[in-house]
């Protein structure tokens, strides 16, 4: 029984079958990659997992509980965090505040009217946030507006924000898109470290096969909304169906 069990999930948008009968099982503490050509339904699946979309059929269980019908913040509080393709951070706030917010979310839950406390008086949380900033090597940027940072810094910040919450499952949407090779390798190392040291299960959507094969323990290949095959990386590499799907797309 995996930490995340997706069974028979289907989703239609008008005439388009975006997802059809998707089954997926993600094992605890593993890194699971979802790959597939453009339009295969990867993003739709991710949106179903985080509660942004409600599927027409099927079930999604996380640690034995259904996530369907819950709103995104509830699903997050269950332990699922998401990193976006384009970093989603609080651009108008400082780097420190960006980190503090998940600290509060972790401690206080999805809503608390703490209107007469003072952020900076929460010594414990401040110390925690500072430690994280030191960990990700951003402590000297703590008072910067997040929006004014480089794209790479924004990615690191977003990752750090997700890690603050100590999620059980981290969903990553093309975490290395647009990166130079050296940065990509750094990110791979970072993710590996996170996976191993913090015991966080990861589910990655990725185009870059180098990243996928460096990280993933299992790979699911999606095509036209349905899983073609799920297996360990070695087997995926030479799988005829996969090659067909990718090559077919590449040439067609």
């Amino acid at each position: 029984m995996g930490i995340l069990e997706v069974k028979g999930v289907g989703k239609r948008f008008g005439g388009l079958q975006a997802l059809g009968d998707v089954n997926l099982s993600v094992q605890e503490n593993s890194v699971h990659a979802i790959i597939g050509p453009n339009g295969a339904g990867k993003s739709t699946l991710l949106n179903v997992l985080v509660g942004k979309l409600i599927p027409d059929t099927g079930s999604v269980m996380f640690e034995g509980q259904s996530v369907l019908g819950r709103s995104p913040h509830e699903i997050n509080q269950m332990g699922i965090s998401r990193v976006f393709q384009t970093p989603e951070i609080f651009g108008d706030l400082t780097v420190m505040e960006n980190i503090m917010i998940p600290c509060f979310a972790k401690r206080d839950g999805s809503y608390r009217l703490h209107a007469f406390e003072t952020v900076l008086h929460e010594k414990e949380l401040v110390a925690q946030a500072e430690q994280i900033l030191i960990d990700v090597n951003m402590i000297d940027k703590r008072e910067m507006h997040a929006a004014s940072m480089s794209r790479g810094d924004k990615r690191r910040l977003e990752m750090a924000m997700c890690l603050v919450q100590e999620p059980k499952l981290l969903l990553l949407d093309e975490p290395t898109a647009g990166m130079a090779r050296a940065d990509t390798n750094n990110t791979i190392d970072l993710l590996k470290e996170i996976n191993e040291k913090r015991d966080i299960t990861m589910c990655i959507i990725e185009h870059d096969m180098h990243v996928v094969f460096s990280l993933a323990e299992r790979i699911t290949v999606l095509a036209q909304g349905t899983p073609l095959v799920e297996d360990i990386p070695e087997k995926i590499k030479g799988h005829p169906k996969v090659q067909e799907a990718y090559l077919g797309q590449a040439h067609g």
């Binding site: 913040h73 997050n76 706030l93 503090m100 003072t118 910067m144």
Partner: protein, 403 residues
């Protein structure tokens, strides 16, 4: 001190100093001088400054922090006013219960309207709040006349059934509003040479309430809650995926700012016990938006400055007439005097709207951050001049939020 850092404490002390010494600061010109026209240190206007300051501070908690632009906030001020007057009619002329009921009623009303309106965002939210406020105005002006006084406004009368008090004084007048016996219109006058300063009880009550309101707003700005509100403005998507529910935060901000508006309404009727329906018209809602933006939305002190400026123009500029103009320019030769009067006349007195419109445009065009930004620019100018030798004195990154 008081849970504030040094900078905020200084700001609070500065504001406290300004409101305490307002009777001096606002009356810089000696009585009888030509410039006495510009004195604003009389009770009514001073009260208005701080009351509208409260209103704008509250509005800013919603708009400045969450970015939700309510175009119907005057409705809460109006509802608070009506509740306050009814309290005076039915219970007592002591202003404390009136102010309390104003806050409570405005809070409940804003809870209802906020709950519905916050189902939408952006301009759709603005139009929903506008629609509710316009409905409130239209009904208060017409079919709800028995409850609101309609066109005339809700006022006290000689036969109010005041439970804890008298319907009429021995001399046959309506009793006056008071704070445990201290009449709101009591004043102490100090004549210093040809200057006259008025210290009004009502003003100081309003000022005290305003300082508390301002203090609370600083606390909210610096609180985790305030940070969450800014997160709502910045990125609701990320907020949701951080496990936070933006709705209750926004609704809480809406209700808090509605209660601030109710507080302002309660104070208004405590100073002058009549509640007119016009204070709920959409232009009144627009006015508080303008106050916030003019002063600097999202800053602590900005809305107060904006409120002060607009009320000053409304009350001082509109009273200047051509006779006064002629007096000002009387020292000039006759021909030039007339030219000057002709040039200035369209902008004052009945033309004060024109000046207001021009000022809005100038501020938005040249000072997008409002008056606060203007102040910052001037301060920076001085700082740069002071530290000219310091080569690294380049632009500091503007990372101090919400000054």
């Amino acid at each position: 001190m008081l849970g504030l850092n040094k900078k905020d404490m200084n700001l609070l002390l500065l504001v406290a100093g300004l409101v305490i010494f307002a009777p001096f600061i606002l009356n810089p010109f000696p009585e009888g001088s030509e410039l006495a026209q510009f004195n604003a240190g009389y009770p009514d206007l001073m009260q208005r400054f701080v009351i509208f300051g409260i209103f704008a501070i509250g509005f800013n908690i919603l708009f400045g922090l969450t970015g939700y632009l309510s175009f119907g906030h005057a409705a809460f001020l109006g509802v608070g006013s009506y509740a306050g007057v009814w309290m005076m009619k039915l219970l007592t002329m002591n202003v404390v219960p009136a102010i309390m009921i104003s806050v409570v009623v405005a809070g409940l009303f804003s809870l209802l309207i906020g709950y519905i309106s916050l189902r939408r965002s952006g301009i759709y939210f603005s139009i929903l709040t506008l629609a509710f406020a316009q409905m409130s105005f239209a009904l208060a002006y017409s079919v709800l006349t028995p409850l609101t006084g309609g066109e005339t406004g809700l006022q006290l009368s000689l036969n109010d059934p005041r439970v804890l008090g008298i319907s009429a004084t021995e001399t046959g007048s309506i009793p006056v509003t008071h704070f445990f016996g201290l009449e709101m219109r009591d004043s102490f006058e100090l004549a210093l040479g040809s200057w006259l300063f008025t210290f009004n009880a009502g003003y100081y009550l309003c000022a005290a309430v305003m300082l508390i309101a301002f203090y609370l707003s600083i606390r909210i700005f610096r609180s985790p809650f305030g940070m969450m509100l800014r997160a709502v403005k910045s990125n609701q998507q990320r907020m949701k995926y951080t496990g936070l529910n933006p709705k209750p935060y926004t609704l809480a901000a809406f209700v808090i700012s509605g209660m601030y508006a109710g507080l302002a309404g309660g104070l208004m009727v405590s100073m002058d016990p009549l509640a007119g329906a016009e204070r709920m018209f959409w232009t009144a809602s627009g006015e508080v938006v303008l106050m916030a933006i003019l002063g600097g939305a999202g800053t602590l002190i900005g809305p107060v400055l904006g409120a002060g400026l607009i009320k000053y123009m409304e009350n001082i500029l509109s009273k200047i007439n051509s006779t006064i103009l002629h007096e000002w320019f009387a020292f000039m030769p006759d021909g030039i005097e007339d030219v000057m009067v002709t040039l200035v006349y369209p902008f004052i007195g009945k033309g004060w709207h024109l000046t207001l419109g021009i000022m809005f445009m100038l501020v938005v065009i040249f000072l997008p951050g409002g008056l606060v930004e203007g102040g910052q620019r001037i301060a920076r100018l001085f700082r740069r001049r002071g530290a000219k030798t310091d080569d690294s004195g380049a632009e500091q990154s503007q990372n101090t939020p919400a000054e």
